[in-house]
Amino acid sequence: MLDFLIEPLSFEFMRHALAIAILLGILCSVVGSFLIVQHMGMMGDVIAHSVLPGLSIAFFLGIDISIGAFIAGTLSALVVALIRSQSRLKVDTAMALVLSSFLALGVTLIKLLKTNKLDLHNILFGDILGVTPGDVWHTLAITITILLLVKLFYKELLFYTFDPLGAQASGLPITWIYLGLIAAITLTVIASMQTVGVLLIISLLIGPGITAYLLVKELHLMMGVGAVVGIIASVSGMYFSYYWDIPSGPAIVLVVFGLFLLTLLFSPSQGILTRLSATSRSAWIMQQLNYLKKR
């Protein structure tokens, strides 16, 4: 058993991948929790898909692909906001349109600009073999920065995500807070791209958070418990990826789903099975009471 856990660590790329996995578990849970409580889960997916054209253009121009990804990802969120405010369309339709259009543009640009060296398959599904020490530092920097900002602005973020109108009415600059959240989501996507892949990032963003949501009743606890779930999922996903030779993204996502399913069934307060047994328990007690009364 111990060998099973230790053996992969003899490879440098695996040590890097695991370091990133732990960081992503924390980062995605914190940022994703804001998405969940704002009912913006799909926004994470839109941004994740939309970084592709930015990657291609940045690669073509020879600049850091993260910068291209950041610009394209933020732009997609702004386009969604624009369509929503300037038409009668609802946000879900605007997101569906933007997501597919940016992804299509990205794939087209990769072909047209001949940036084929960008391995599309790895970008879409993640690849632990490609994790470099640079990626680890990158992810560490993003994680620390975002955690620090969340800590600093927590009370404002809580107010805004709970009651945006009330927050605006009390004078908080909600446009800036919204843009800050979008930037944080985009940075999280960039940090996760290499290991989870853009198609599947959404799972790590919302999965640990909603699992925690079934267990606790405050946002900061949701982030904390979510981080633990996220770390367990991403680390064990890495091991599955290593031993079964499957892309790391799908492996992590399937573990996330497994943990969510277990919680949905067994959560002490909201689990399907625990709830059932609680009702049948109370039914049993009522039965006993009636029986006693009759006697």
Binding site: V37, H39, R88, L152, F153, K155, E156, L158, F159, T161, F162, D163, L165, G166, A167, Q168, A169, S170, G171, L172, Y213, V216, K217, E218, L219, L221, M222
Partner: protein, 236 residues
């Protein structure tokens, strides 16, 4: 003194609020009434700058209201709130102190005392650690009332505060409205069902897209005015 001049709002070419003007003295409880879709919420949102207005000036003590939002407490309609949000009663009321506390700071001891007093005033102190979804409709409304109290605002807006609440909560709400009035604060309360509590208000603004009548109960609630606003003679 709250002054609204020629406030107008339109959504994609459709007029929602048409050239509304009124002013309110401090220490008044004012009911904003009118049928569903009359633009009552829209008017208040436009006054606070929560949505854009196509024209109009809103001033509070001769200065634009939007520059002194710290003086404002706004309680949105219950439908605007996600009651499954993972947050406790205490933290909802603590939100009222966000702007007072300022960026990068933790709420002061004084802020915590203010929140505690507000929770006690509305009878929700014992339930401070409950998640808001675990409360009844009336208790939820009292939490928001406590939040408005703890904001220590001069100008208070309530959007349909009497929806889905019990008799006890209604009594507490009116008691607190009277206390706030006595402290010379200005209260604007939207309601489409004023029922038996009409006499509690000092003044009514009856509107349907535009202002139909503005004045005391006997001046506003006349057959002619109600006919104009509702198209029939009674308030539903």
């Amino acid at each position: 003194m709250l002054q609204v001049q020629n406030l107008a709002v339109s959504y994609q070419g459709v007029c929602a609020v048409n050239s509304i003007s009124f002013s309110i003295e401090p220490g008044k409880l004012v009911g904003v009434i009118g049928p569903n879709g009359a633009g009552k919420s829209t008017m208040i949102k436009a006054m606070l700058g929560l949505i854009g207005s196509s024209s109009g000036v809103v001033k509070f003590y001769s200065r634009p209201l939007k520059q002194q939002l710290k003086q404002v407490a706004y309680v949105p309609q219950r439908s605007q709130i996600d009651w499954d949000y993972p947050i406790t009663v205490w933290n909802v009321v603590m939100m009222s102190r966000t702007v007072h506390t300022g960026w990068f700071k933790e709420p002061s001891y004084q802020s915590k005392e203010i929140v505690k007093a507000a929770l006690k005033r509305v009878g929700m102190w014992e339930l401070q650690n409950r998640q808001i979804g675990e409360l009844s409709g009336g208790q939820q409304q009292r939490v928001f009332l406590a939040r408005a109290l703890a904001q220590q605002a001069e100008l208070l807006f309530f959007d349909e505060p009497f929806t889905a609440i019990d008799k006890k909560t209604e009594e507490i709400v009116f008691e607190i409205f009277f206390e706030l009035k006595a402290q010379n604060k200005t209260l604007l309360v939207i309601s489409h069902d004023l029922g038996e509590n009409l006499s509690y208000y000092d003044r009514f603004l009856l509107m349907n897209k535009q202002m139909i009548a503005d004045g005391s109960k006997s001046e506003v609630l006349t057959a002619v005015n109600l006919q104009k606003a509702y198209g029939h003679l009674t308030i539903q």
